[in-house]
Amino acid sequence: MNLFKDAGHLLRFAALFVIAFLVFWAIRGFVVPRSFGQYGHYRGAAIGEIGARPLHFAGHDACETCHSDVVDVKKAGKHAHVNCEACHGPQAKHAADPGNVTPVKLETAALCVRCHAASAARPKTFPQVNAADHSNGVACETCHQPHSPGMDTPAANAGGAK
């Protein structure tokens, strides 16, 4: 009894702890996002938010829905497996609104050498040229149609250049 009286101040200190803990727990219940812990120790809703970010590249399936003529040219040639946007750039806006958003015309001179400029670092089997020696300044598309660049294929002189 006397002990309880003389230790009373310790109980006051302990009470501070209990109050602080209760306040903490109340705030915690209010602050932690609802979906936290849905799949693991993270905000489950974050997955949906990340998945909802906007697209910039439409993907070749979207391109091919409309541009089936180019697909036909391409699939016979050496660029069959080069997807459209690899050269044409991100076209999701064009795919969403083809009437109003027109892709810009490409600079073939800069584009072709990105892959085909000769370098000892490139795989030996990959076709590469020293641009200056190879064409003497003549634009690549004079001889090579970008959608089917081989000189020996019938598609070489067909459409698809625009």
Binding site: D6, F17, V32, H41
Partner: protein, 391 residues
């Protein structure tokens, strides 16, 4: 990119942990070390260090109050830091920080200081006036019971708190070491010795800090330095320092002898970018010189004045050395590429949010807090309390 030699992964060029993260283990180390010194008197009954008991506790508290600030300032989103309390990730060493910190601050330090000062607080509350009186009254938590029996209970409880406090202090700083030691991606950090080295270097820095502060405050107050006290502290500093140095050398020798895949890269770094801060500042000036100085005081009989000077110089050099050790761990661990093929440079700003001025302000802030605490709760022997209450 400026300052890059060889090859860095492109995202590695900029350092992500700055001088503030250097400051943080330095400050928590001082807290842990100061507390261990205080516990010498309380638990291990080393009477000689009694004059520093309260000063050590207040030092620990003032540094502990500042410890989270560099972390807070370095965060990209400081306003989100309560998430560490609300949803701590059980596998993260850093998530423990919040809880260990709060436990140490409230359950150990504040509680122990409160128990030890309760009699003084009640007496001060009766004697003072105005706002100060309100402050003291609040600190009594409304209990003015300072009967011998109540004080006896405080003494017993305080002893238990100190006993719990020692492992808590080890945990507080050991986990800081674990934050670095557990990163397998970084060979400069990844080592099971890291927490142990951190604990012992913490004790070294804390003991040196309290020793220097004790001598400085005595000088400022125009009192005599209790030589038995500082001699004992210096002795403890010397022996802990030897353990700390042995552990660090063990780590170093182990690395050199094993010479694993990272060795060539780290070795090059230590001999170039880290040479000054690691070899010169940390090992030569910050470890070997103070160790030799302290060894001399242990072996040779010297006069009081000489000893005081040696202690002051050794103490300050030690603090510098331990700071350099934190620097070399935190900054050194980010200067080399995880590809082991290149090195970057740390450019510290002067006035930026993580710059030198902020770091300096954060290092001085604990001293300011300590000054306020000393004014509020004079740590000097009880006889001074009535006489200097209005000081």
């Amino acid at each position: 990119m400026g300052g890059v030699e060889g090859f860095m992964y492109p995202n590695e060029i900029e350092l992500h942990w700055s001088v503030l993260i250097v400051l943080y283990p330095f400050i928590t180390g001082l807290v842990a070390g100061a507390f261990i010194l205080a516990s010498l008197e309380r638990v291990f009954r080393v009477d000689a260090v009694k004059p520093t008991y309260r000063l050590a506790l207040l030092t620990a508290l003032s540094f502990l109050l500042v410890a989270p600030l560099p972390l807070q300032l370095h965060l990209g989103h400081p306003e989100r830091s309560p998430e560490m309390y609300f949803t701590p990730h059980s596998t993260s060493a850093m998530a423990m920080f919040g809880y260990v910190y709060l436990w140490y601050l409230m359950a150990v330090l504040v509680f122990e200081i409160w128990l030890d000062y309760r009699r003084d607080i009640v007496l001060l509350a009766e004697r003072s006036k105005g706002i100060v009186r309100i402050v003291y009254r609040a600190m009594t938590l409304g209990s003015t019971n300072i009967s011998p029996r109540a004080l006896h209970i405080d003494e017993r409880v305080g002893w238990i708190v100190t006993l719990i406090g020692i492992p808590s202090a080890f945990m507080l700083h050991g986990y800081v070491g674990f934050i670095f030691g557990s990163i397998k991606a970084n060979p400069w950090w990844s080592s099971p010795l890291m927490p142990v080295v951190f604990i012992f270097s913490a004790m070294v820095s804390g003991i040196a800090c309290v020793m220097v502060l004790y001598m400085a405050t005595a000088k400022l107050r125009g009192r005599n330095i209790d030589m038995r006290c500082v001699d004992t502290i210096a002795m403890y500093l010397f022996y802990t320092f030897i353990i700390d140095f042995s552990l660090e050398m063990l780590d170093l020798i182990h690395r050199v002898y094993e010479a694993d895949e990272s060795f060539r890269s780290l070795n090059f770094m230590v001999h170039t970018k880290l040479y000054f801060s690691h070899i010169v500042v940390q090992i030569l000036c910050g470890t070997l010189v103070p160790l030799v100085l302290l060894a001399i005081t242990q072996v040779v009989k010297l006069g009081e004045v000489v000893r005081k000077r040696i202690y002051a110089v050794a103490g300050l050099l030690t603090l510098m050395g331990i700071f350099a050790m934190r620097w070399n761990v935190v900054i050194g661990g980010q200067l080399f590429s995880k590809s082991y093929l290149g090195y970057t440079t740390y450019k510290v700003g002067l006035v930026s949010r993580e710059g030198m001025l902020v770091a300096l302000a954060l290092s001085l802030l604990p001293l300011l807090i300590l000054w306020v605490l000393i004014k509020l709760l004079p740590p000097w022997p009880a006889e001074n309390v009535p006489a200097e209450a209005g000081d």
